[in-house]
């Protein structure tokens, strides 16, 4: 009998061996696959078990975590909700992360390798591990003004500090409330998520950074810069017919409402920009040539590159230019030209900063939980769009737009402050059935000759087809509000 008992014992040993081998397979070989499976909620539950770091604007949190009594120990809150949603993004259990929450997740969650030493110290001392803090470049006054001025209309505002590239405001409108998505009640979250996605106004679309629009007439600043480079002077007369016959095309280019520019045959470069003369810039572009226009657009940032601020941006570019007719339309910011509001703000920022374009950025500092700095963003040169002497001329032309031209409503009456800008009214939609045009304004303000703020405003479908007034009437006042709020804020000193 003993021999059989021993054999049974050996069989039991073999069974145990099989179990151990299988556990090795499940817990070691397949460990990563199982841990990161979408249907496994344990990892996300673990990330909820420690307070996520704050996202801070001028010392005040726009995203923070509070302790709860739920299974998920910490709730993500957005004290200003929709106003900062285009930047903060959202933090959800079932629908992933977006915005700064996503791009700075390592620091916020505390998983960043630079925080490893601290995490070990936390474990040893029994302190609750925490995430790091993200300090944004945003200016509360500018952001408030932009959010308020947009008032829920479809559009976006982006403001930059021209001398550094720091993003001072980034608002997408209408916005959504990330608090509804970070809730721990999955049913409520699902309901909000479905509602936002079904909304025709697309509140979760980041119009400030991720939406490309035809820039329309604001693109004329780029063409003007190329012309100055070619040796033209602002006072020089350029051809400006009332109707421009385009080569190999039956559709002529006209001005809005068929208006005349200058004397009906020619106009000065400066006046053509001030009154936003389409035919003058169409001809100018054709005279400059595709390479020249494209090169200048690329210098301004419309190079088809995807930027990281660290939020991703849509790729702005002038697109394909197939012939001279296309070039003429490209030169007035139509045809295949696309730009994000951030890109349009970069055009004014470069002009305001004596032709030096700085790389836009949104994160000022990454901080460890003890507030020591992990990383501080230094301003970075992106390109030189014009020599300072030529740029002064372009500034003079953009100031003329605001003083005497289409952008009067952006002017600010503060001593020492000078505002320059350009309006735009961009046709969009299918060629046979145009939607109401988008209203644009891109401009900047200097104080005592120092560039302070550049801003771009877009209002979707805010104009009337055939009228140039939309940009100046609808978008310029918003830009004025944002610039005024910033100039009156201590942060601009």
């Amino acid at each position: 009998m003993n021999r059989q008992i021993r054999r049974v014992a050996v069989a039991v040993g073999v069974m145990m061996g099989a179990l151990l081998l299988n556990l090795d397979y499940v817990q070691v070989l397949k460990s990563d696959a199982y841990r990161n499976d979408d249907r496994n909620s344990r990892v996300i539950l673990a990330t909820y078990s420690r307070p996520r770091g704050q996202i801070v604007v001028e010392g005040m949190p726009v995203a923070d975590s509070v302790a709860t009594k739920d299974e998920l120990k910490y709730l993500r809150r957005y004290p200003s909700g929709p106003e900062y949603a285009a930047v903060t993004g959202h933090y959800t259990r079932d629908y992933g992360l977006d915005g700064i929450e996503a791009t700075e997740d390592d620091v916020l969650s505390g998983n960043d390798p630079r925080l490893l030493g601290r995490r070990i110290a936390d474990i040893l001392t029994g302190r609750d591990p925490q995430g790091g803090t993200i300090v944004l470049t945003l200016n509360k006054a500018a952001q408030d003004a932009a959010y308020k001025a947009l008032g829920g209309r479809r559009g976006a505002v982006v403001a930059l500090d021209p001398s550094t590239g720091a993003i001072l405001a980034a608002v997408s409108s209408p916005s959504y409330d990330p608090n509804l998505l970070s809730s721990h009640k999955s049913d409520d979250v699902a309901k909000a998520w479905r509602a936002y996605n079904a909304d025709a106004d697309q509140p979760m679309l980041n119009r400030a950074l991720l939406q490309n629009y035809p820039p329309g007439s604001v693109f004329k600043v780029v063409v003007a810069a190329a012309a100055l480079k070619r040796g033209l002077k602002p006072e020089e007369k350029i051809p400006a017919p009332s109707v421009l016959q385009l080569p190999e095309s039956t559709v002529p280019m006209k001005n809005f409402d068929g208006e005349k520019c200058g004397d009906g045959q020619t106009d000065t470069l400066q006046d053509a920009l001030a009154i936003s003369c389409n035919t003058a810039f169409g001809q100018l572009g054709m005279d400059l040539g595709t390479d020249s226009v494209r090169k200048q657009a690329e210098l301004f940032g419309m190079d088809g590159e995807q930027r990281k601020t660290p939020l991703r941006t849509a790729q702005s570019s002038i697109g394909e230019v197939v012939d001279q007719a296309a070039l003429a339309q490209t030169s007035i910011g139509q045809r295949s030209v696309v730009a994000t509001p951030l890109q349009v703000a970069m055009i004014s920022a470069a002009v305001a900063n004596d032709g030096v374009l700085m790389k836009p950025y949104l994160v000022q500092r990454e901080q460890a939980p003890n507030l020591s700095t992990l990383h501080s963003t230094d301003p970075e040169l992106l390109s030189t769009v014009l020599d300072p002497t030529l740029d002064k001329m372009l500034q003079q032309m953009m100031v003329a737009v605001v003083k005497n031209g289409t952008g009067k409503k952006a002017d600010i009456n503060i001593p020492g402050v000078v505002v320059g800008g350009k309006t735009g009214t961009a046709d969009n939609g299918p060629t046979d059935h145009l939607n109401a045009p988008h209203a644009w304004f891109s401009g900047y303000a200097t104080r005592q000759g120092v560039p302070k703020i550049a801003v771009a405003v877009v209002l979707e479908n805010a104009g009337v087809t055939g009228s140039e007034s939309a940009g100046g009437a609808a978008a310029a006042p918003i830009a004025k509000d944002v610039m005024t709020a910033y100039l009156n804020d201590a942060a601009s000193d």
């Binding site: 003993n2 145990m16 556990l23 499940v26 199982y34 344990r42 673990a46």
Partner: protein, 485 residues
């Protein structure tokens, strides 16, 4: 002191001789160690879940301590020569189980609050109560059964009681017997009892006694076929009966696990008793037939098999439990989330069928293997008692009980880690569940009883000597192979 006087003193329980005393001291030391580990585990759970060590440490740390100490005193009094390793293993597993059950109470309460559901109530306090009942069973067995051979005399009575237990839930109306689709319960006055657990022990005793009596017939008569000695057709009776019984359990109870357990156990008993591998082959053939029948007859068997084969195909419905179990084990990885640091409550039934997953998730592969090693130690000590004991009945009984522990553990762990289809058995000593805990304490008491008799100094044991009414050890008639037919 003359040997007779020593024995007299021992029977009166007044003094132990040196060998016994050394064993019991070792047992006590290891018990203290085991309880120390349990206390540490409970302290870790409390710090992780509640931020500080609190009053529960007293309850869930001291219960294993008290249980271990009481059990130790019982063994010291009634089975002084028994293997000193068995009891510490049991107390260790029971204690860890308690810690995990309480930890899951907290987890499930938070989960219920999260989902806005009512929380069913704590399981840990009743498990403490059942531990006490388990100790009573332990004491009763060691105190009443002073020699395991006595059980041989009651083999048929015990078998009838066992069959009654087994059949009772199946004949009761579903409202008294059905939990989660399996009709293997008796539910009265708020208590749920799974009589099958006790039936397992009773039928093992019967099987051992029956086979010891019949082993000659079963092992000697037969004919050769492909190198193996096969039994005669009319000797197949017991095996077929066991097979039919298991199918019956399956049909009425929808309980795949218990059915598999019983059959495996009976085949192994047959093999050890007859010393012939042909029974294993026959057993496997019958098992395959049964499995084939079960698969085609019962929808729930088909579901479990399809979940086993394609667990992630229906991961949110039928495959939810097993896939979440795999996720839990995988997330635990090598080192685990730490006690109280994981989310074992995500897997349905985390404290009963899937408590192994709960340990795997929080203790990792290392911790789970350590727990399995403690089981391995317990089972190995059982087999070692089976080898050491002198009578055939004792050998068969102990080997059978040890194998039943091993088989149950194997089926459970293989089920939750998808080596085999999941069958819904509980893990001995770890899982929440009163009947299982009580039955397993009785099982261990039996192991200790046999171990005690095996390790008793080789003088004529007083009980045996003074009980002429016991059946004599069956004489082994020398027979040449393939002789009588």
């Amino acid at each position: 002191m003359p040997v007779a006087a020593k024995q007299a003193a021992l029977v009166n329980g007044e003094r132990l001789d040196d060998a016994a005393r050394r064993r019991r001291t070792a047992e006590l030391a290891m018990l203290v160690f085991a309880v120390g580990v349990v206390l540490a585990a409970e302290a870790i759970v409390e710090t992780t879940q509640e931020g500080r060590v609190n009053a529960h440490l007293a309850t869930y740390g001291l219960v294993p301590l008290a249980a271990g100490f009481i059990a130790h005193l019982i063994v010291r009094r009634f089975a002084p020569y028994a293997d000193p390793l068995i009891l510490p293993c049991v107390v260790f597993l029971n204690g860890l189980g308690l810690v995990m059950i309480r930890r899951l109470d907290v987890g499930e309460m938070m989960q219920a609050r999260e989902r806005g559901l009512d929380y069913g109530g704590d399981a840990a306090p009743s498990q403490v109560l059942w531990t006490a009942f388990g100790l009573i069973g332990f004491l009763a067995l060691l105190a009443i059964v002073r020699d395991h051979r006595v059980l041989q005399r009651y083999a048929y009575t015990l078998a009838l009681v066992g069959l009654f237990f087994l059949a009772l839930p199946a004949v009761l109306p579903a409202r008294f017997s059905e939990v989660n689709g399996a009709r293997i319960w008796i539910r009265i006055a708020g208590f749920s009892i799974q009589p099958g657990e006790m039936a397992k022990i009773l039928l093992t005793i019967f099987g051992a006694a029956y086979l010891v009596a019949k082993r000659d017939v079963l092992s000697l008569a037969g004919r050769r076929f492909i190198g193996l000695e096969f039994p005669r057709g009319r000797d197949l009776g017991p095996l077929l009966l066991a097979w039919l019984l298991c199918i019956g359990v399956l049909i009425r109870g929808h309980d795949l696990g218990t059915s598999l357990m019983f059959f495996g156990l009976f085949v192994v008993l047959l093999y050890i008793a007859t010393e012939r591998a042909s029974w294993v082959v026959l057993g496997l053939i019958l098992f395959s037939g049964g499995a084939f029948l079960a698969y085609h007859l019962f929808a729930n068997v088909q579901v479990r098999v399809s979940v086993w084969l394609h667990v992630f195909d229906d991961a949110n419905n039928t495959g939810y439990q097993v896939s979440q179990s795999l996720f839990g084990l995988g997330t635990g990885g090598l080192f685990g989330a730490g006690l109280g640091g994981g989310h074992p409550e995500i897997v349905p039934l985390p404290a009963t069928d899937f408590i192994i997953t709960s340990f795997g998730e929080e203790l990792g592969l290392f911790g789970l293997v350590a727990v399995l090693c403690v089981f391995g130690l317990l089972i190995a000590r059982g087999f070692s008692a089976a080898l050491a004991v002198r009578d055939s009945f004792g050998k068969l009984l102990t080997a059978g009980l040890s194998f039943s522990l091993a088989l149950q553990l194997f089926v459970v762990v293989a089920g939750v880690s998808r080596l085999l289809p999941e069958t819904g058995l509980t893990t001995p000593f770890l899982s929440y569940g009163g009947s299982s805990l009580v039955a397993n304490y009785v099982l261990v008491a039996l192991l200790l009883r046999v171990s005690d008799s095996a390790r008793r100094p080789a003088v004529a044991t007083p009980v045996a000597a003074s009980s002429p009414s016991l059946p004599p050890v069956l004489p082994v008639t020398p027979v040449t192979k393939g002789g009588a037919s």
